[in-house]
Amino acid sequence: MTARQALEELPRRLSLRLREGTETWLWGTVLVLIAAGCYLGPFVLPLANPEATDFANALAPIGTPGHWLGTDALGRDLMSRCLHGGRVSLTVSLGAVALGLVVGGTLGIIAGYRGGTVDAVISRCLDVLFAFPGLVLALTVASYLGPSVRNVTLAIAFYTVPAYARMARAGALRVREQNFVRAAQMFGGRGWYVGTRHILPNVLFLILTYAFVLIGIAMVIEAGLSFLGLGVPPPQPSWGQLIAMGKQDISDAPHIALVPGAFLFVTIAAFNRLGDILQGRHV
């Protein structure tokens, strides 16, 4: 009941922060546009088939009528490829972070609230996981699970789960010391009750704002994976892969790599910036 109340609380707190500046609206709109373009675009816009080759119009520059963002070496429309690719990049990143939030957040809260042996064990496991750089871990997992949207998401989740667990644990540790937790315990409230009714609502804001920053990082990892050819395989090339494919023609037609690059950059920047603003770091 109180987690629900905390959720009702959230729009108020978020909107308070968000109202601070048109910049938030700017980035918010950017994200909404990109997301809409990637998820709804293929159904709504008259996009060419991203795999349709058109050798006559190969290497068309930006601004060519009919292919507003140009085409690649095989004549495939870049706008279409970028929007389709965006769907993959976004889905994988959002999925990995969502997984991280649920699994990592729960683990972190349990570790922070319970303390003692449970905390020690979970913390050691987190230490072990943190010793592996995000990309290296994702590389190893993805390559041995085999490339697919689900597996790549899982691979990146190996990074987001510990990241979230650490953050949730820190938050839970702080909340646990508060007197209202002691009061609930004095009334006879037990572990599960206190954890969900008191600890969770108080770290919820922290966890949700962290999502933005983490999505940015997840996208970088996913793009890196795809760039190395170990991410989601064609025919669902994500932005990273599109950039890799554009690498060969970088001297003749840089736009092939730069257009998806721009999409990637703007999306990551938007998530980072929104994350910073929501966490109160406006600089």
Binding site: T140, L228, F265
Partner: protein, 316 residues
Amino acid sequence: MIAFVLRRIVQLVPVLLGVTLLAFLLVNLLPGNMALAILGPDASKEAIAHLQEQLGLNQPILLRYLHWLGHALTGDFGWSAVQSQPVLPTILQRFPVTVEIILLGQLIGVVLAMPCAVAVALRPQGWLDRLLGLLAYGAIATPRFLLGLLLILGFSVYWQLFPSTGFVSLFADATGNLHSVALPAITIGVLEFAVYFRVLRGEMLRNLAEDFVLAARAKGISPLRAVLRHVLRNSAVALVTVIGIGFGPLVSGAVIVESLFSLPGAGDLLVNSIYQRDAVMVQGVVVIVAVTVVLVNLVVDIAHMLLDPRIHLHDG
């Protein structure tokens, strides 16, 4: 203080064990792949089964781990049948390249970040502050491979200053070496610069308000000297922390950069080994990387304590 160091080292042991175990598990949970990889996709089922038996792939996984660990502790990381090379020597041979670009990148980042942070701390919210802030922000939002591509576009294609591939060993030709690693190092350096700049700037601004700086200024020391003498030293603590936290992403960056610029480093080895499904090699690289990260964190912890004993006085 010795007690602190000893305690930290003791705490490391289970983590290191866990790290090696995890690396081993990640790579080895699918025995079929390894034999398949060695023999190729056309091998018969019997041949695969036979090789599996020979390589001991059918034993319980923990046993194989202990077996491997025992060998690893004596320095024997095994033999890669896929690439026909011993694992550890190959990795070590590639290490210098990776280390070189990492160090150069860090150097570029720190050397650029310090004067910028100082300049900006003396005059916050000025045009330089905003400009650099914006640049730093942009750099952080750009994945390294993208940045690398942009640099290639700029400095290899348009202005033919630096090569985009190839590596010349430091021992063969020093200038050639620097020439070949310039772009990769800059790619890494830009992101490091962005991170350090932001952290240093934040720390300096915080420290500038502190009493001892005000006291220094009251004594007549110019703001610049006050900054250099007191503020830098205290900011060093934050810097060390950031270096520690940033080491993991730095390694990831090295992997990407080596791939992009075709440098024969450990990261490139990792990627190629993954392409070739060379489990033994992948395992070796991953373990070494993870152990390095853990050790770097230890060094950072110790450096942290040396620089600012305040933090650790009551560590109990």
